[in-house]
């Protein structure tokens, strides 16, 4: 016997939050895998700090999403009992820590810090705008989260520069990481009915409004890190719509195991 999955409301008010919540959750999940394996003890602490912040953000967002949906779902029901197709994180964050082919443990530090830099910059931009949300709870969450995102951005961008302008070996690894990650970035700037609804109701920005500011910050980062601005490709990832990469299933197998295996359990 296993715990059955829950159904999630498709209303844009819920979906807009789930995209953010799941992106934070899955990125936090990936960063948690680094614990005990970082290149130096100080970075073990720094990476798990970032993971903790992201998990915290996802908890707050999931709780809010649960309130807005009609079923009064709890953060853990949403986090642990959805079917894969109902998770709305962007594909970039579910990729293993070493790249799109994997493995996740051991991770590749260049891939990890570059993804952190891209995501932290994106999160900072959207949290800044969400501070003005007509949903006062979301605005409050954003007020706290934006400070965390600023710190994550500083930490990861500093590392990108160190690796880009460090040794030939570190620069090579960073370029390889950029080559993979750039292809997954367009998804962060696609808009549809969900965020059109959110913008129209003052809840939060359309994701496509983040593209230009993000690109300009990335350009400044890449210049300092001696990275080329990559060419755009036609590749589009679709995690936000619930159609994930092959990696997502393994993440959920891990993450959901106890809740599924111990129906009715108390934790």
């Amino acid at each position: 016997m296993t715990t059955p999955s829950i159904e999630v409301e498709q209303a844009p008010s819920v979906q807009y939050l789930l995209r953010l919540a799941d992106t934070a959750l899955i990125l936090g999940q990936r960063l948690g895998e680094w614990c005990g394996h970082a290149p130096v003890l100080e970075e073990d602490i720094a990476l798990s700090n970032i993971a903790l912040d992201l998990i915290g953000q996802s908890r707050a967002l999931l709780a809010r999403a649960g309130q807005l949906g009609g079923q009064g779902l709890h953060e853990d029901q949403l986090a642990f009992l959805r079917e894969e197709r109902d998770y709305r994180n962007v594909t970039m964050v579910e990729l293993p820590n070493s790249g799109s082919v994997g493995p996740s443990r051991p991770g590749d530090f260049a891939f990890t810090v570059l993804r952190n830099a891209m995501m932290a910059t994106w999160f900072r931009l959207i949290w800044e705008r969400l501070r003005e949300s007509s949903d006062s709870e979301l605005a409050a969450i954003a007020g706290k989260a934006v400070k965390e995102a600023r710190y994550h951005q500083q930490h990861s961008c500093d590392w990108v520069v160190r690796l880009g302008d460090g040794t030939d070996d570190s620069a090579r690894r960073l370029r390889a990481a950029l080559d993979t990650l750039w292809r997954y970035s367009p998804e962060l700037f696609e808009s549809d009915d969900v965020d059109s609804w959110a913008a129209a109701n003052g809840i939060g920005p359309r994701w496509d409004t983040l593209r230009e500011p993000w690109r300009s910050e990335m350009k400044a980062l890449f210049d300092e890190a001696r990275l080329p601005m990559p060419a755009d490709t036609a590749f589009r990832s679709t995690g936000k719509r619930g159609v994930h990469s092959e990696h997502m299933g393994y993440i959920l197998t891990d993450m959901q195991y106890l809740q599924r295996a111990y129906p009715g359990g108390a934790w």
């Binding site: 130096v40 100080e42 602490i45 720094a46 700090n49 500083q154 930490h155 500093d158 160190r162």
Partner: protein, 105 residues
């Protein structure tokens, strides 16, 4: 130099330098020495100091100083005859200056 210090110098060539961390936990208080950490550059040292030494504190200020930059006084009760120590804080082998051929890359 004994062989222990020789070995230490060798490993020190690739080791991140040591920094001492001072934290002011609340406005109005002094910065207090709380320990040390290894970091490659000042920016990293400050960030790591916040990650490591201020996890449970709010609104604080952090100073980091390279350990080999600290000059300390001699303890008061040591006469010169009995005190073989240098006036650096720690007898830390990695405080020795790097040989010039690897000092700049």
């Amino acid at each position: 130099m004994n062989s222990n210090q020789n070995a230490a110098n060798q490993s020190s060539l690739n080791e991140w330098p040591l920094w001492e961390v001072f934290v002011r936990s609340k406005s109005g208080l002094d910065h207090k020495h709380c320990g040390s950490l290894h970091a490659a550059d000042p920016q990293m040292a400050i960030q790591l100091a916040r990650d490591v030494y201020t996890r449970r504190l709010e609104g604080c200020s952090v100073w980091v100083v390279r350990s080999d930059q600290i000059v300390a006084s001699d303890p008061a009760d040591k006469g010169m005859y009995f005190d073989p120590m240098e006036d650096k804080v720690y007898r830390h082998p990695t405080f020795y200056k790097l040989p010039s051929e690897v000092d700049h890359m």
